[in-house]
Symmetry: C2
Subunit: 251 residues, 2 copies
Amino acid sequence: MVHAETSTGVLQPLAEASQLAKQYEALFLVDTVTSLGGHEVVVDDWGIDICYSGSQKCISCPPGLAPFTANQTALATLQARTHKVQSWYLDLSLLSAYWSASRFYHHTAPISMIYAFHEALALIAEEGLEARIQRHLRHGLALQTGLEAMGLTLHAQEGYRLSVLTSVRIPSGVDDLQVRKKLLNEFGIEIGGGLGPLKGQIWRIGLMGHSSSTENVLLLLSTLEKLLVEEGYSVEPGAGMIAAIQTLRGK
Amino acid sequence: MVHAETSTGVLQPLAEASQLAKQYEALFLVDTVTSLGGHEVVVDDWGIDICYSGSQKCISCPPGLAPFTANQTALATLQARTHKVQSWYLDLSLLSAYWSASRFYHHTAPISMIYAFHEALALIAEEGLEARIQRHLRHGLALQTGLEAMGLTLHAQEGYRLSVLTSVRIPSGVDDLQVRKKLLNEFGIEIGGGLGPLKGQIWRIGLMGHSSSTENVLLLLSTLEKLLVEEGYSVEPGAGMIAAIQTLRGK
């Protein structure tokens, strides 16, 4: 299961899903690529057996590494395999021997990436993980309140919204591609389009790691207002900004 | 087949091996991890169907990327597959779609690594590939002549020796680990020990990319002479240095 579902903007209820997995004696594998460093991730408490993430989202490190953890249940399953792993890549049986005291050679590590990751983690420790999660929450909420004040409809259900990625429905009559192109070319802001059945239906706005800032929330809301007006969409001037600032100030 | 065989110091005769592969209608896959950027690698002329390398050896870039090429024969074999590739990693069927005009998303690229690789290639272009190969050859030969002048025996057969990694037999009575520890701790020089049946039998001395320099050849020969003498091995003082310098000067 993907924790932070970036194609829809949904935060999956992992604790509940985990119970279901245990009920069927299945291993519970979770992708926390977009959530780790931005949302609370409590691997053991939530009964996650295998968990991986990425370096480039809320950890704000260059892409290239995937943090990974597996518990004893997962390792026991690995040890009970009756046939060899087919791929050399992420072969945990080989990696376990590398990770063990014997340090049985498996691969050359991407050293520079590991230095970068170490620095990114140091920055997280400096900010404080809890403070960082609160920062993502605050900015996500400000953006969402602002979008709603502009008359837009959020795509994800309340209570299951990500702070790190907001999905919002594109008002009818507004040209998806035109708005995204102008945002990127005129203002240097890249937002995502919808995927699969949601293509042309929603926008996906990320506020991850370093980019989860007051400046980015306000810049997006003000430029989007301008572009929506150009598309013929009616917005009360400044409504989004005012609502966002109120939220940021704790109302 | 591995082109530059680092466990033995042998340069494999690829053109001949390729003919054998063609004779049996096998794809010819070559690992040029240690050779690319240090030895001549002529992928198409040698009939190599699939070739990969690493960034961190003679290309002198941080580790983390693998240059890769596949010819039409290899791609035709891929397209003729009757079952799906099991692993997501290096799934060429998916990567082909990413590489194609449709740019079908496959993975987030390790951007910083790609910048680093670009810079490493620019440095190679600046030096000139042919000049770079000659530099590796010159330093490898100087090291090998020096070691032989010290009475040591090279492990790889003449005519099949790598310039980028020299394997040399450890004289009897000399403590393998003791010498390597002193080299590392006192002089900051790390050389490799033997692997498998060659453990304790040979040393493996790399001169790859940036590290293939006159300074490194002379430093290694002079420090090794000192340490061998401490181990009770009899060396004519300066013999290795003199022979190496003569080779470097073109005799």
